[in-house]
């Protein structure tokens, strides 16, 4: 029987030199991307035991997230409790996975709530991730961003989700984008650096691809789609463009950079589609929390209900599962 290892200290991704030619060589055909993204969920599906297993895997890749103005220490503690025990014991036992130690990958909060989360998750394998760098708009000075990252790390965040300056992309300042991420990477130190492209605000898929290449050159540990606050968040076409950039980067450098889909992923079916996307485009090496995350909050409830259906054969009500 397999058990989940504690996440190993993040594999360090090393920056590579800035290469403008590589960024500008990128070509993305939107219609072709959309066609692939649209057909993928129709080409692959998992049923029965396979579906249950895949949904459990999705849980272990979850960054359980709360990023609201009315977050309090109390709500964060509740979230952490759910992170430790994301699915009812009886369901896990019935599925025969009680011993696997199923829990989410991380809890993701604003920097000021990091100490609360660290305390609440002490002794668990769940990481604490902090959003930083002027999240969500990224409209603060680089110095402020650096300070914010340093602060979050100092308080015990093992993962930092930074946002990029969209203006660098929209005005074609690729070097500035590269430098910004490099500097924040340095500030993050040993913490895993997830870089949010806020893809929904970059205008075109070509910009998403070019931003991906730039951020990969700067040594991001993860590319992340969205803050969850943009008009358009994690869509399969956006994800497809980003994971293809990750694949190219791997082929060129041998470094396996992770991918995080965040924003708007609410259903078990959507979570499966993302796992399928990862498996098809990047392969099995990208199917663990080490290299794949889903940032969400409500998603977990739907997965629980699906797992309950797997066990009982009956459709489940939301109130049958412990709330966050």
């Amino acid at each position: 029987m397999t058990t989940i290892a504690r996440p190993a200290p993040a594999t360090r991704i090393a920056p590579t030199p800035f290469d403008l030619a590589e960024i500008e060589r990128v070509r993305v055909n939107r219609s072709a991307v959309e066609r692939r993204a649209a057909s993928l969920p129709g080409r692959r599906t998992v049923k029965n035991e396979w579906q249950a297993a895949w949904l459990l895997r999705a849980i272990t890749c979850l960054d359980l997230t709360t990023l609201a103005g009315d977050d309090t220490p109390g709500t964060v503690r509740r979230l952490c409790a759910k992170a430790r025990q994301p699915v009812r014991h009886d369901l896990l036992a019935a599925l025969g996975v009680g011993g696997l130690g199923i829990r989410v990958a991380a809890v993701c909060v604003y920097p000021n709530l990091v100490p609360i989360a660290v305390e609440a998750l002490a002794g668990s394998a769940v990481s604490v991730a902090a959003v930083a760098a002027g999240f969500p708009a990224g409209q603060t000075s680089l110095r402020t961003k650096v300070d914010e990252v340093l602060d979050a790390v100092a308080h015990g965040a093992g993962e930092i989700d930074i946002v990029i300056s969209r203006a660098h992309v929209l005005t074609g300042k690729w070097r500035a984008l590269y430098d910004e991420v490099c500097e924040l990477k340095q500030a993050a130190g040993d913490a895993r650096l997830k870089v949010i492209l806020a893809a929904g605000e970059l205008g075109t898929l070509t910009n998403v691809a070019r931003a991906s290449v730039t951020v990969l050159q700067a040594g991001a540990d993860f590319l992340k789609t969205s803050t969850g606050k943009e008009q358009v968040n994690a869509t399969l076409p956006i994800g497809l463009v980003m994971v293809r950039a990750i694949r190219e980067h791997f082929e060129r450098t041998g470094q396996r950079v992770g991918f995080k889909a965040a924003g708007g992923i609410r259903t078990a079916k959507a979570a499966l589609d993302w796992l399928i996307l990862m498996k098809e485009e990047l392969g099995d090496a990208w199917l663990t929390a080490e290299r794949f995350r889903i940032g969400a909050s409500g998603l977990l409830s739907d997965i629980e209900r699906q797992l309950s259906h797997s066990v009982t054969g009956r459709y489940s009500a939301a109130h049958s599962h412990p709330m966050v």
Binding site: T45, R57, G96
Partner: protein, 789 residues
Amino acid sequence: MPTVADLFAQLSYGPAPESAAPALDWIAAHNGRFGHFIDGAWTAPAQLVPVVNPATARPLAEVSLGGEAEIDAAVRAARRALPGWQALTDHARARFLYALARGVQRHSRLFAVLESLNNGKPIRESRDVDIPLVARHFAYHAGWAQLLEREFRDWRPVGVVGQIIPWNFPLLMLAWKVAPALAAGCTVVLKPAEFTPLSALLFAEIAGRAGLPPGVLNVVTGDGSTGSLLVRHPEVAKIAFTGSTEVGRQIREATAGSGKRLSLELGGKSPFIVFADADLDGVVEGIVDAIWFNQGQVCCAGSRLLVQESIAERLEAKIRARMETLRIGDPLDKAIDIGAIVSPVQLEKIRALCERGVQEGATCWQPSWAVPTEGYWFPPTLFTNVAPAATIAQVEIFGPVLVLLPFRTPDEAVALANNTPYGLAASIWTEDVSTALDLASRVKAGTVWINCTNQFDAASGFGGYRESGFGREGGREGMFEYLRPRWEDEPPPAPLGAAGRGARRASAPTLPPIDRTPKLFVGGRQVRPDSGYSRPVFGPDGTLIGEVGDGNRKDIRNAVEAAHAAAGWGSATPSNRSQVVSYVAENLATRADEFSARIVQQTGVSAAEARREVELAIERLFRAAAWADKYGGAVQATPLRGLVVAVHEPVGVIGIVCPVERPLLALVSLIAPAIALGNRVVVVPSERHPLSATDLYQVIETSDVPAGVVNIVTGSTDALAAVLAAHDDVESVWYHAAGDRASVERLAAGNLKRLWVVTRPRDWIAHGEGEEFLREAVQVKNIWVPAGA
């Protein structure tokens, strides 16, 4: 059964089967044995032959082998149904087509499962591609049925239609055939493919349930012999065939001289062209859709991958990686990309061609995984190190086999793309819109997909150039395949009376006239006939009025070469062509008296009648000049975000064989639209009255018509028509003489050129122009251009 914990560790795909039960139940409800569907009822099953599930090699059902009696019964039923079907209002026929569309939708999953069981194609394709397109095709043609009288005022349904369809898209090909035929007011005898008859039988049942009148749609199952009986049946007015080029050629020959109309959708070896600036990951998925869709058993499969050399290696690596992730297996599994090959015969053909490829020195690559053992399977295959001359680069494989050929420049890509007898489809991948559109216009193909592939829609006609056949299915252009000009129902025109026979003898001149030698007109020059012989031309009273060159096969050969050398005419601007044709009219007008006199001299009609013919010829030229810049094509209303543009391209070099009558008017009525729309012509003028044509070249010479655009070869009509029909570099022949149409049609089978044969006498005054002429002067190329910033 693996445990959830094991599966959690593996994260593999499990089985996801679609149930076969409803389809098997339907077969069982027929006791596993099917008769034919004739005159709205099932015949008793007889002469049974097995239908096999190619994924298991086990029998699914038995169907009847149709013979002479069944074909005859079906054709007679269709014939009986014809008057009633045509008597319905457009709206009534539209309601029936609408009901068929809805019937397909209501039973969509049953159709999809049955299709996958019988054909071996993945359920994802039958469910997501084939069946939705079928429903769409009937719905779209319900629209044409509704608009028939309004939009096709000058046309009539052709009558009873025999349709023979292939096994690769059994129900979709049925839809492509049946929907336009019914919409046009025809009745149908359909012969489904020997291997895949089941979905057609289910469709017949559902059509019956929809209340389609008995005899309007008849389905007779069987093999090639059944199809052959249908092709030869004298009561069938038209044959529509989709299948191999070889069988298409046989049908062309078998129907020669019968008066049957014909449309053929045949093979292909379609290019898939990738430029260095393409989105290569998008390209890879395009390749999957191009050659691994339906196991590559697609007439328009992108089977020749032309890759710009600078990225060939990178793309090849990406393709191989992608091939590893393709999944082959049970067609009813929802997570399968590649299903079974339809039959052992087809499998053997694919194997043999691949072996040939290896023998000829190409490198064969297949993914590491194995194919199932039971049933008929072939893995996706990539050939590299392939020379353009290799068998696998030339011959249609009709399987999941891709050959890669590198190119350096756009010109070389075009040359390689067009280096095939086929011309069905092409796919062009580049992010540069100028390159894409340039290639789209230069590739010889009925459908061009830019940055996409294998896109279909009822609104966009599908069909080939060259040996990929002729005729279109879908779109407005496809409706004409089931329509004939209304004037054919009129009584033939009365023969023109010779007036003043022998009355115009001139009195003896003081000086003898200067002898004139009408020559052939080839490549812009007046040339002597190769034979060195002349033919006498007599007036109506039998007196010798001149002598013209007796053209032979070499003169035709030279004329065709000259016409090809004038290819620039096809890319001249429409306004330029319009101006030139108008200028011909202008110069003809200045010599109207002379041309009138010549008509009188040759035919003996009255001077007034001759004058009328000349005036009308001038008007025809003006009319053609008017159309030159107004018949460019249309935008097709498909679901694609972007543009689907139907471009009217010139056919190329057209051989025009003129009737005896109306020596000037018929000649001009035929030449004018042909050249106005960019074709070059080799004309065989009226055999009996050729002097109007030999006079006309002097007008052409003075009217800025580029050399080679119009070539005139006088001589024996049928001898010269035979040479034109047999010439593989002539794209179309318009045969309007009253002679040996059978020979022309038989000989045209060589390169499967388009034919426009009208032997019924035509009133050239009343019916010598219009859409009937224009559409013969163009071929429709549908270019798909998806948009997306």
